[in-house]
């Protein structure tokens, strides 16, 4: 497993809403070696403040050496990232962590909510590429309002994978939660549900999977200092009573490995 610290040039910046942005970075080493579900640590700003890198899922990679991240302004680091302009350089470190495990022979059901949509494009692409045909797979994407979902749909549609959309306020797709849609679907008993999104959403997705007895992989977050196993800061309680480290043992886990407060 190789990791790289790259000085990545910003190729393109896209603003989807007041707070949601997408950056395209020239980062050939990371693009070449990344797997869906992995993440990168990015340094925001020039000075010593903010000090630590910030973790972001790899949104997608391209064969010409580019990666994308899709993010939301929630604090100082992301605020600085949103000010970045095409042509600027960013220090990017990755790919980090364990990605999603893809099962070639059984259907995949992807459930992404809010910023949890970020890693799902890379996952959908990987699944379709691996399987050749993703006619049995499905994607459910949701968000609070239209701007959190609609701008991303186009890229997902490229693979002909079946999409189901929802917004909390009904401004786009189904009026309600992604978990409403999930509950309403028939699930192949050997399918895998992949999910990323707010904690309560993932907890609920896992609950549904448990009841239906299907596999569930979750991509979780944690505060991180190093992103690579050196600080032990990113601990998360496991169902065995120990701690897992999100950057090293995750960010993708089998849902049953973790403790869920619901």
């Amino acid at each position: 497993m190789s990791q790289y610290q790259e000085k990545a040039t910003v190729i393109r910046t896209e603003q989807f809403s007041e707070k949601n942005y997408r950056l395209t970075l020239d980062s050939p080493d990371i693009a070449r070696s990344a797997k869906a579900g992995q993440f990168v640590m990015i340094r925001a700003g020039f000075g010593k403040d903010p000090l630590l890198r910030r973790p972001f899922s790899i949104h997608q990679t391209s064969t010409n050496g580019q990666i994308q991240i899709y993010f939301k302004i929630v604090g100082r680091g992301t605020d600085m990232l949103a000010r970045i302009k095409a042509g600027d350089d960013l220090s990017v470190f990755g790919p980090l962590g364990k990605g999603f495990v893809i099962h070639e022979n059984f259907p995949a059901l992807i459930v992404g909510g809010g910023l949890g949509i970020a890693p799902m494009l890379f996952l959908a692409k990987s699944i379709c590429r691996l399987k050749g045909d993703c006619g049995n797979d499905q994607i459910i994407l949701g968000g609070r309002e239209k701007v959190e979902v609609e701008p991303l749909v186009k890229d997902f549609k490229e693979f002909g994978i079946k999409m189901l959309l929802a917004t909390d306020d009904g401004s786009y797709g189904h009026h309600g939660l992604v978990t409403d849609i999930l509950s309403s679907l028939e699930l192949h008993n050997r399918c895998t549900v992949y999910t990323c999104g707010p904690e309560p959403m993932m907890a609920r997705v896992y609950e549904i999977c448990k009841v239906r007895n299907v596999a569930c992989q979750v991509s979780v977050e944690s505060v991180m200092a190093c992103g690579m196993g050196a600080c032990l800061g990113c601990s998360r309680p496991t169902s065995k009573g120990t701690y897992a480290h999100v950057c090293l043992n995750g960010p993708v886990f089998k849902a049953e490995e973790l403790v869920w407060n619901s």
Partner: protein
Amino acid sequence: MEFVNSRKDDLPDLRVNIGSLKIANPVMTASGTFGYAREFENLMNLHRLGAVIVKGISLYPRAGNPPPRIVETACGMLNSIGLQNVGVDRFISEKMAYLAELNIPVIVNILGDSLAEYQEITTRLCGVPGVAGIEVNISCPNVKKGGVAFGTDPSMAAAVTEAVKERADVPVMVKLSPNVSDIALVARAVEDSGADSISLINTLIGMAVDLKTRRPVLANVIGGLSGPAIKPVALRMVYQVASVVSIPVIGIGGIETAEDALEFMLAGATAIQIGTASFVNPRASEEVVEGIGNYVISEKLPSVRDIIGQLSVDLQ
């Protein structure tokens, strides 16, 4: 010191002696910030390091604190990892083989909550191949004294030092806590008790509050402050301690660059450790080695040892 000048002439002489422990250059990785070194093998040339100091090891495995364990602060971070580690036995059986093969000095950072525990860990580390030294973390709470940290009381600091020295078969470096009224007093007590060297500083005790939840950010409420924010305090303490002890002093605290490292050496440090900086830039320690080398060359110094303690101070 005896340094035979066997080096190639175009390479800077970066060797320093931490007492009887001879290292190729003054750059070490600070405990708890470099895992067990293996984590960095793809990211840098580990062989360039003066020494590796591994995550603090206790007698028995410790699970550590519940999350959140870290939070960023202005130019720094707080951690309350809670000394999570695999325990000395698994450390020896699972981690040391790799470390020993690196062929760089490995210094094992140890911690305990009683003198007996410090002694027992030390005993178990005796004769383990690859262990070049022990760094004693005395910032841990002394359970017998109601949880007061060993390192905040000169006599307890002395007692730990003595206990470890009694058993150790390698040089002993004692790592001081900065959360004290008089660091020179603790340093002298530790020196008098036989420490081979002194490293400082460990983290300052701090806290962060989340206004939205009205709770402390860290599950453990308080944590240790590290990073550039603490560098001025660290430099001051290194300067103070180096002025009063005659054993080597190892400087720690907010060091990110070769310039930072050289400032600590001017203030009296024989060597330095890179901590939090490795999180931001995994190659930080190697870059500091390179930078110190470039400085020695550009300043035409016979060796890096020629700047140790060379700060000119004239108090008016």
